[in-house]
């Protein structure tokens, strides 16, 4: 059981900044995120895109913003459960919550702050009859253990980095790798594209473009895929394969959180914006893009503000009898849980003669 004061679901910019604000109040945070790295959309979708409306930063790359936030919260030693999706929440007798992930990791905290953005990122699945029938029986959307594909005939579909990178990797592992894409052009890092070109010339990767997979065949497990070429005669070929790996990127889904008994409106969680961004369940807050209230704007800077007010409310909830007034960092400095201390240098008081 991982224990913290505030359990934050979602390690995007809002969730990360909440760690800082909580840290100023001596509250310890743990974050859960379905993605394998922190940063949420900023890392996953647009790390190289500049953002122009972060106060004090005329221009900053989304990836840099995440790096900066990680640096800013380092003194507060947040814990991370990455690559796991928060699945179940259970209220305990002492009013705290236990959140269990899809991999069974349990987290306990008196406060849960959902900073889930647009939801957890799930693989985009192509629209094919029988697709779900063959899931884990030859069809996979994520490659967990490449050894599964040793000496197998594998077909990969997609035209982005992951399709290219896995084709390259599996070329050495699988018996046969076929890459199918709807266009002749691929969108990926230049050296990945060149490597695939090289492996194709060497006969280690079979490339079928422009084409798409239009059908799956098999009994208890996948045995073949139907590839339709986008040429004039729309020729269809049946390709005998053991595995089909569609890699069409990820798209966010609110997912299991929508079954937690929270009030949902417009695919977002309703919160009290007059006070502290608490949901209809006391002790559960929602901040950042995942929440909604009259006039809501899905902006990073709004998420920062919401996270700040949420932490103040969380503190009062955890310590109902303690008196506290907000302290400026220019006055109080930042004292980390790691013993580090940052503060403004003292002015010199000295007579000038």
């Amino acid at each position: 059981m991982i224990k913290s004061d505030i359990l934050i679901i979602g390690a995007g910019p809002t969730g990360l900044f909440a760690v800082f604000e909580a840290g100023l109040l001596k509250l310890k945070c743990h974050l859960i995120d379905a993605l394998p790295q922190a940063g949420g959309q900023c890392s996953e979708i647009y790390p190289k895109k500049p953002i122009y409306d972060i106060p004090g930063f005329p221009e900053i790359l989304a990836g840099e913003l995440v790096d900066n936030l990680m640096e800013q919260i380092k003194p507060f030693q947040p814990g991370f459960t990455l690559g796991e999706r928060a699945e179940i929440i259970q209220k305990q007798k002492d009013d705290s919550f236990v959140v269990t992930t899809n991999k069974g990791t349990k987290h306990n905290a008196p406060i849960v702050a959902i900073a889930g953005g647009l939801g957890s990122f799930e693989p985009r699945k192509p629209i094919l009859e029988n697709l779900s029938k063959f899931e884990d029986k030859g069809v996979a959307y994520i490659i967990k253990d490449p050894e599964v594909y040793r000496n197998k005939k594998v077909v990969i579909a997609g035209g982005g980095d992951s399709a290219l990178d896995w084709s390259i990797f599996l070329a050495d592992v699988a018996a046969e790798v076929t890459l199918v894409h709807r266009r002749n052009e691929f969108r990926g890092a230049l050296d990945s594209v060149e490597k695939v070109q090289y492996l194709k010339n060497e006969g280690k990767i079979k490339l079928i473009t422009p084409a798409e997979i239009t059908g799956l065949k098999g009994g208890a497990k996948l045995e073949a895929v139907i590839v339709k070429k986008a040429s004039e005669d729309e020729e269809e070929v049946t390709l005998e394969v053991d595995n089909f790996i569609p890699l069409f990127g990820l798209s966010p889904k609110l997912g299991p959180i929508s079954n937690w008994g929270l009030e949902i409106e417009k695919n977002a969680i309703k919160v009290d914006n007059t006070l502290d961004y608490q949901t209809n369940i006391p002790g559960i807050y929602a901040v950042g893009d995942v929440n909604t209230y009259p006039g809501k704007l899905k902006l990073i800077l709004c998420g920062f503000h919401e996270a700040t007010l949420m932490c103040q409310s969380a503190y009062q909830r955890i310590f109902p009898d303690k008196k506290y007034v907000m302290k400026y960092t220019t006055v109080g400095g930042v004292t980390g849980f790691d013993g580090s201390k940052k503060e403004a240098p003292k002015a010199v008081v000295k007579a000038i003669e």
């Binding site: 035209g159 709807r182 969108r187 798209s251 695919n267």
Partner: protein, 108 residues
């Protein structure tokens, strides 16, 4: 100046809406401003041509600007793509688009 656009939503209902050309708006934002698709189901990436949630089928024969590489690449990975598919977020509202008719692609 405002232009008229006909948008068929995902339930097959056609709406004729006024779209401003002086607000730096794109088709995806017009759809959102009139709430013709539920929030969270359109414009998920915010308009960076990085998801296909605003895919639409262009039904009138307007001369649209060429697709950028980003839009081409995204449409190559999207589902339910037809020859007349475009990403709404890449279609900026200009006077030339008066009378444009589009249908929203199904939600993935």
């Amino acid at each position: 100046m405002d232009i008229k656009i006909k948008i068929t939503d995902r339930n097959g209902v056609t709406h004729e809406v006024d779209a401003p050309t002086d607000m730096n708006m794109n088709l995806m934002e017009i759809v959102r401003s009139y709430e013709l698709a539920p929030e969270g189901t359109i414009g998920i990436c915010g308009g960076m041509a990085m998801c296909a949630s605003c895919q639409c089928y262009v039904q009138s024969d307007h001369d649209l600007p060429e697709k950028s590489d980003d839009e081409e690449a995204m449409l190559a990975e999207a589902f339910n793509v037809e020859d007349n598919s475009r990403l709404g977020c890449q279609i900026h509202m200009t006077e030339e688009l008066n009378g444009l008719e589009v249908e929203l692609a199904p939600e993935e």
